[in-house]
């Protein structure tokens, strides 16, 4: 778009199309364009590189650059939640590998006791990442597995306990109640632990991703987002609206199905990918 001049009538149409096609969403797109128009007037730039940089800057203002805040000498818990099929279990496999390579002692809790072969699937990842996993039979109470995992993590002096949960939609009250219960167990049982609750979002999801973030945030106070499947042709632009409105940063991105396909979120690279 930035090869055009601002007074080219197609310029803002093309900008609108680029942002909407990136799933940025209508409201946020209009807001970005208005914000950008004000910026341009202010800086009196008419085309090319200056325009591109100004635009990048207006997007940067909306997206924070934040990383996973690991605390030394205490138990850290990563509580992984999200709707069905977005990549929670696979992401936990990747996180285990990354964190173990940083020299941390990692343990997994298989709290998806509902879906067929969910525990088997996480167990394969535990083997691949070479980390211990606490699990029970399919159909057992996820709260019981969590209690078990916390006890084990404390006694084995684990640095990071990563909790896998079953996929669930935010409009199902009983399922959200279950995740709230798991959250309460974590809060009560290990008040001294550093806990981060991360919502996994699929980059291919449309505007519903915002509703997911908003609802899960209301239920269990999210600390951030993991955006998966960025190796697809989708851009996951909804995270801009999520960052801007809910103040939730993207902490990691998934870029494939291998154990190494996880990166810390890089805001500037992400903005480049949208443009």
């Amino acid at each position: 778009i930035f090869t055009k001049k601002i007074n080219d009538p197609d310029f803002f149409d093309e900008m609108e199309e680029t942002l909407i096609m990136a799933d940025v969403g209508v409201e946020t797109t209009l807001e970005i364009i208005e914000h950008f128009k004000a910026y341009i007037k202010d800086k009196n730039i008419k085309d090319g590189e200056g325009l591109k940089n100004l635009f990048k800057q207006s997007l940067q203002d909306m997206i924070p650059q934040v990383t996973f805040d690991y605390k030394e000498n205490q138990l850290n818990v990563l509580f992984i939640v999200g709707v069905n099929g977005v990549g929670k279990t696979t992401t936990i496999g990747k996180l285990s590998h990354t964190l173990k390579n940083e020299g941390k002692k990692v343990m997994l809790a298989a709290c998806d006791t509902f879906r067929a072969a969910a525990i088997d699937q996480l167990s394969v990842w535990a083997d691949r990442a070479e980390v211990p996993i606490i699990k029970q039979q399919m159909g057992s109470d996820p709260g019981a597995v969590l209690h078990d995992a916390i006890d084990s993590a404390i006694s084995k002096q684990i640095d990071i306990l990563i909790v896998d949960t079953a996929g669930r939609f935010h409009n199902k009250a009983n399922l959200m109640a279950e995740i709230e219960k798991l959250n309460r167990i974590l809060n009560k049982k290990i008040e001294s632990a550093h806990k981060e609750t991360l919502l996994v979002l699929d980059a291919c999801t449309g505007q519903n991703a915002y509703v997911q973030a908003e609802s899960f945030h209301q239920s269990v106070q999210l600390d951030g987002i993991i955006l998966t499947k960025l190796d697809s042709t989708a851009k996951g632009g909804i995270v801009i609206h999520i960052a801007h409105q809910l103040k939730l940063p993207v902490k990691f991105v998934g870029i494939g199905e291998r154990i190494t396909d996880l990166l810390p979120f890089n805001r500037d690279e992400y903005i480049d990918s949208i443009l």
């Binding site: 096609m21 969403g25 209508v26 879906r115 072969a117 088997d120 394969v124 519903n208 991703a209 042709t233």
Partner: protein
């Protein structure tokens, strides 16, 4: 949401018993915003509102005694035109021959679960075999095996990493054990993953499916059109299944897919249980997208 948007603009509109061109244009703009918020594809929305605007600016609406109702009718009718007005069936072989159904789609869209759901519908009058040709995802074969067991369906796979060989041997197994229908589960893959798309083309060649069904998440965003077009171009799919319709997503993907590929949505997934599976009725989706 469009109903609340509509109520907003049409309250002002309906106070007037004649709509001006400006009223129509404002109404059309509201429709554009509502459809985009519902995840309808940008290009589909642009074409759609052009059609609506042309018709709405025509005699029928401007000169109608209740122009607002007429305007809403134009929008609704245009949506139904696109979605089609009847349900499309899957086409299976006659008795005596084995029907083959191939499930394809992106990662995590719900293929494995839906294989069991469709098998459950078909088992009423045929012996169904579920086949796992997913040699990539950890515990994928176990997942389908468990679902087959829970649903009372046959299950076949082999303990190696060649999906094409599994499919070939599944055909033979189905014949030997007198199955009437085979449902082939494949690994999720991106339309831009060339080796994996070639693998699907090979599976299609070997198994000659009666139905190739593309499984998509109902909450898919703007790029679903590129994805489905690609899969369709390479495999000539017979139909679409939209899953996770029990979420509160508006499901604009349904409109985008139908408009750009012409392929029918045949079923929807409405939950995680085997029985959460229904035939797709186009008229219902128009209402949902309009919110």
């Amino acid at each position: 949401k469009i109903t609340s948007r509509f109520e907003g603009i049409f309250k002002t509109l309906s106070r007037q018993n004649r709509l001006s061109e400006k009223n129509i244009q404002d109404g059309v703009r509201e429709i554009k915003l509502a459809l985009l918020e519902a995840d309808v594809n940008y290009k589909v929305v642009k074409d759609f509102i052009k059609l609506v605007e042309e018709e709405a600016l025509g005699e029928k609406v401007l000169k109608s005694i209740s122009p607002t109702d007429q305007f809403i009718k134009v929008v609704h009718d245009k949506l139904v035109d696109i979605m089609g007005s009847h349900s499309d069936e899957i086409q299976l072989k006659k008795r005596g021959e084995i029907s083959v159904i191939l499930f394809v789609g992106l990662q995590g869209s719900g293929k494995t679960t839906t294989c069991a759901k469709l098998g459950n519908l078909l088992k009423v009058n045929q012996k169904v075999l579920l086949v796992s040709a997913d040699t990539y995802r950890p515990a994928a074969k176990d997942q389908l095996k468990i679902l087959a067991g829970q649903t009372g369906l046959g299950f076949f796979t082999e303990d190696h990493n060649d999906p094409i060989k599994i499919c070939k041997n599944a055909l033979k197994y189905a014949k030997d054990y007198e199955y009437h229908a085979i449902i082939l589960d494949t690994a999720g893959r991106l339309q831009v993953d060339e080796p994996l798309m070639v693998e699907l083309e090979k599976i299609k060649k070997i198994t000659e499916p009666d139905e190739i069904l593309f499984v998509s998440d109902a909450m898919a965003g703007q790029n679903v059109v590129d994805v489905v077009k690609s899969f369709d171009h390479r495999l000539n799919i017979n139909g679409i299944i939209l899953t996770k319709f029990d979420s509160d997503t508006r499901g604009g993907a349904a409109l985008s897919i139908k408009k750009t590929t012409g392929k029918s949505i045949k079923f929807i997934g409405t939950g995680e249980k085997i029985e959460n599976f229904e035939k797709f009725y186009p008229e219902r989706v128009a209402g949902r997208i309009l919110g």
